[in-house]
């Protein structure tokens, strides 16, 4: 039996923070929840057609000529449209990086306005399988597929480049020659200059520091791999356009369609329900395929469904990054200078590359390195002919942690210090006391659980098991980044509470639930806030469908912050609800509102508690109209700092085969306030699957000669299964506290950010040789050991 977490002393929460099933668990376990592919069954949309898009067989090419006549003649084909059609030539150039999902933005305010490198349907392809040239609508998916095969294209094939270092060299093939004369994305207003932070003088400090270490780390193209492949259905058969999709951004999708197709917002309805996993895929809602599907629906006068196959869903990835890090310190371990330089493989389209490369390091330097006098950060995002890359359960944090945890381990070794002590000595944050309580506790708990002091070896010098196996432990830590003040860009967050006459509640806290468990957090938050009414979670119905015609703006499942943001708003709506109840009770209780109170659902006059009635009695005496309170507010901008999280790993390395077995993972998140313990632990445990996969087995492999990706399938792209996973210990803490009633932060992304580096440091501790490019496959281990 594992132990439950220890809540903050005297927190006295009735519902928030509890161990309990998810509110949707029963429906999901029975297979009753409908995802987009279920919602859009042909039987529900009479006359529905299926769309397919032409995909480039070349890594870099332009269409010289296209002949669709054979495709058009295939029985069952209803429409073939090409990039030459006015419906497409009239569309503005765009990108898939309008927003990171936090806020809704218009075309003019999109985050990466300088990189309009995508066409909804163009003639130019920048990676193998790029969606380009022509789209088909047909009576079945197979006919649509067949029609695509019948399209005759003459390609003008260009040289291509996959490696960002090659792509940076003069004379390298230019990926977007119409836009830039170099593959390095130019500096722009959001991310700033190439050197985007230059505090103090790192070079001068390196020259005089007692100790200077440096190192590199390389992160690869991991992919989100949601089981719920991208899919949409568009019905634009009259003036109104309705989009059903599994985008996690309903309101942003509506804005995107409105802005791109020139429709007023009330003529666009976006409907989304449960999504089978998101993990940052597609970055945001603004997918070009929504638009070409819409155009096909308009053209054919029929609803059109477009669905990626699993192979086509290798459509987004975590941005690969090569990091160089250099750190200067005094003999006593005080860090005086830090320098990081990164080169990111943007892939074919810019999307949120700059976000990944510049925002994440800047964030950590603002909190954890704020007091370090010399810090320099430098970054280059480079176009190549690989699949586009940016967000995946975090935006750049995993890549940065790979170097951060590396230089920490290197420096500690050089100074002959325990890296835990080095972290406590050096990292905290700008607004907090020093040493940082959250950081200390996170590391203390992790160290205890993994057995740090007993199991940590002199690198490579530990005990040998079965004659050939060596074990080691390692960790990495990172500051979290989803406190409420970091969510200000969201703008107003609306919710509404409907109190039914019988005392049950309808909660409208709109969000597209992607599996994070925020719906359960909200129901717990709502029952906590309404406990004066005796409302338990079972008495609350949470609406899971977001429909932009009838719902309020959805709070997007990014930053894992929906776990508390809406609950904070719910907490502030309570006074208004009480006021409404008292007002209605005035005539019945013959008393003034100010003289009343409610406890456990009983309204009474303070001076005479016998003069009372239940809310149900009150409303049944009246007109039976439910009380509705709608509240919307901005996130609390008070700068409360952020908590820390860390991962510890124990590994066993087979020095004969090079295979790494992870024996034990510990994941520690300081949450501020645990909103829903079983859900938070599910995030912690679940994150390790993705983190360990990235560290050891997951990798997209390209044929270097042709640029063709070779493993866009789940046989060869190796996601860990149940049989691969070690013992995992999740530890939830409540040390730091943010603003508001709960003072929580999002933890989903921060469960796996440190996993790869923790495993890498453990491997070093086991074998005494550092391997700094993931995934750490057996051949890399053997090479490091000098065995191949």
């Amino acid at each position: 039996m594992k132990q439950p977490y220890t809540p903050r002393p005297n927190s006295n929460r009735k519902f928030v923070g509890g161990y309990r099933p998810r509110i949707d668990a029963w429906e999901k376990a029975r297979g009753k929840v409908e995802y987009i592919d279920d919602i859009t069954l042909a039987s529900r949309f009479p006359g529905m057609l299926y769309a397919k898009v032409l995909r480039s067989p070349h890594a870099h090419a332009r269409i010289k000529e296209i002949d669709v006549s054979q495709a058009e003649q295939l029985p069952g084909v209803v429409s073939v449209m090409t990039y030459k059609d006015p419906e497409f030539t009239s569309l503005k150039p765009t990108n898939a990086g309008w927003t990171d999902g936090v806020d809704t933005v218009s075309y003019d305010k999109k985050m990466w306005a300088d990189f309009n490198d995508r066409r909804v349907l163009g003639d130019y392809a920048c990676w193998v399988t790029d969606e380009v040239g022509a789209v088909v609508a047909a009576e079945s998916e197979e006919i649509a597929d067949e029609a695509i095969r019948l399209i005759n294209v003459q390609w003008e094939v260009f040289p291509f480049v996959l490696d960002p270092l090659e792509a940076m060299k003069p004379g390298a093939p230019l990926i977007h020659p119409d836009m830039t004369q170099t593959n390095v994305l130019p500096p722009e207003k959001m991310g700033g200059e190439d050197v985007f932070l230059d505090k103090g003088d790192v070079d001068a400090d390196f020259a005089k520091a007692d100790v200077v270490i440096d190192g590199t780390s390389i992160h690869h193209n991991a992919t989100q791999a949601s089981l719920d492949n991208w899919c949409c259905l568009v019905d634009w058969t009259d003036e109104k356009l309705t989009l059903y999709s599994n985008s996690y951004e309903a309101d942003q999708s509506r804005m995107h369609i409105s802005e791109m197709l020139g429709l007023p917002l009330h003529k666009v309805n976006v409907i989304s329900s449960y999504v089978g996993g998101q993990f940052g895929r597609g970055d945001t809602g603004e997918q070009p395929f929504f638009l070409f599907t819409a155009v096909l629906s308009k053209k054919t006068g029929r609803p059109v469904k477009f669905k990626h196959t699993r192979r086509e869903s290798f459509h987004d990835s975590r941005q690969p990054a090569i990091y160089y890090g250099k750190v200067g310190a005094k003999k006593d371990g005080t860090i005086t200078s830090m320098y990081f330089k990164s080169i990111g493989n943007t892939g074919a389209y810019a999307d949120h590359s700059i976000f990944a490369l510049k925002f994440a390091p800047l964030e950590i330097s603002e909190v954890s390195f704020a007091h370090i006098p010399n810090v320099k950060l430098e970054s280059y995002a480079v176009y190549t002919n690989k699949l586009p890359a940016c967000m995946m359960r975090g935006v750049g944090n995993s890549q940065f942690n790979l170097i951060f945890g590396h230089v920490v381990d290197l420096l500690a070794e050089r100074l002959d210090m325990d890296p835990i002590d080095l972290c406590i000595k050096n990292f905290g944050h700008e607004w907090g006391d020093f040493p940082d309580k959250s950081l200390m506790e996170v590391l203390k708990q992790g160290a205890e659980k993994i057995g740090w002091s007993k199991k940590r070896n002199k690198p490579g010098q530990g005990q040998i098991y079965d004659k050939i196996k060596k074990r080691g432990v390692g960790f990495s830590l990172h500051p979290a980044w989803h406190a409420e003040w970091q969510e200000v860009r969201r703008g107003h967050i609306p919710i509404s509470i409907t109190l039914n006459p019988d005392g049950t509640v309808i909660l409208n806290a709109p969000t597209v639930e992607t599996g994070t468990g925020s719906n359960t957090c909200n129901v717990l938050g709502c029952s906590e806030s309404l406990s004066f009414l005796g409302v338990t979670p079972e008495k609350i119905h949470w609406n899971h469908v977001v429909n932009t015609d009838t719902s309020m703006k959805d709070c997007v499942q990014t930053d894992s912050a929906v776990s508390y943001l809406q609950s904070e708003v719910i907490a502030t709506a309570v006074e208004e609800l009480k006021r409404e109840i008292f007002e209605r009770a005035e005539s019945v209780l013959k008393a003034k509102s100010k003289d009343m109170d409610i406890v456990d659902g009983c309204i009474f006059v303070k001076k005479n508690p016998d003069q009372c009635l239940t809310v149900k009695e009150l409303l049944f005496k009246g007109d039976l109209v439910p009380i509705v309170v709608t509240k919307s507010r901005l996130p609390n901008a008070s700068k409360t700092g952020v908590p820390y999280f860390a991962n510890f790993a124990e590994v066993e390395v087979d020095t004969d085969t090079g295979k790494v077995d992870v024996l034990h993972l510990v994941v520690i998140n300081d949450c501020g306030q645990v909103m829903f313990a079983s859900g938070a632990e599910a995030q912690q445990v679940g994150g390790q699957v993705m983190g360990m996969g990235e560290a050891l087995t997951e990798e997209i492999i390209y044929d270097e000669i042709t640029g063709v990706p070779l493993n866009f399938n789940w046989i060869d792209y190796k996601i860990p299964t149940m049989a691969d996973m070690p013992e995992i210990d999740p530890i939830l803490l409540e040390i730091w506290k943010g603003a508001g009633e709960y003072g929580a932060c999002g933890i989903g992304e921060g469960t796996l950010t440190c996993t790869p580096r923790a495993i890498m440091n453990a491997i070093y501790n086991a074998i005494g040789v550092r391997i700094n490019d993931i995934p750490i496959k057996p051949e890399k281990v053997l090479r490091a050991l000098g065995k191949v």
């Binding site: 039996m1 161990y19 632990e681």
Partner: protein, 182 residues
């Protein structure tokens, strides 16, 4: 091996008789060519033609387990089987489980400290439930190694494997308890 497509008509010899498949306890009769084309997968028949959407098609090539159903007591990948191959066989989908099925119950209720829930986004869950049913029907008290072996053909990208393993253990206990009661 070419992957079977689902709707394209191909010229093949007409089977002489009707296709009969028992689904969740009821026999269904299908007219070859008209209802079931030779290249149609079982997952397509169940989802698109009959509306059993509890099973999910994600990879459509036998790599993820989301489309798992039970045929004659064994867990099978319905995306890897042609509908015609089910002729004369008995199929159980998640819709065919009793409302108080102990496995469904165990998956839904899993929340004990230290393991997380047995599901998050839930899209892989019906597949896991069906494989668990096939496992426990054959081996009511499996060891953890046997559970891992039986369920390692499934991908849960939310990574709820630890919670799922707990749910399987609890389901096994629930079934044993029910057996004692009856």
């Amino acid at each position: 091996m070419p992957k079977p497509s689902k709707g394209t008509k191909k010229t093949v010899a007409k089977p002489s008789s009707k296709i009969k498949i028992k689904i969740n306890g009821c026999w269904h009769t299908f007219e070859p060519e008209r209802d079931i084309e030779p290249t149609m997968t079982l997952s397509y028949l169940l989802r698109e033609k009959l509306g059993y959407t509890g099973l999910k098609v994600s990879c459509d090539e036998g790599a993820c387990g989301a489309c798992t159903v039970i045929m004659d007591g064994k867990a099978i990948l319905s995306c890897m089987m042609l509908a015609v191959e089910a002729n004369g066989h008995e199929i159980l989908t998640i819709e065919g489980l009793a409302k108080d099925d102990p496995i469904v119950e165990a998956f839904a209720q899993q929340c004990e400290p230290g393991y997380g829930t047995a599901l998050q986004c839930g899209i892989c869950t019906p597949g896991f439930v069906m494989s668990t049913k096939a496992l426990l029907d054959e081996n009511p008290v499996p060891t953890m190694a046997e559970v891992k072996e039986a369920l390692s053909g499934h991908i849960c990208r939310c990574g709820c494997y630890a919670g799922i393993a707990q749910a399987v253990t609890h389901a096994s206990e629930k079934i044993a308890k029910k057996g004692e009661e009856s």
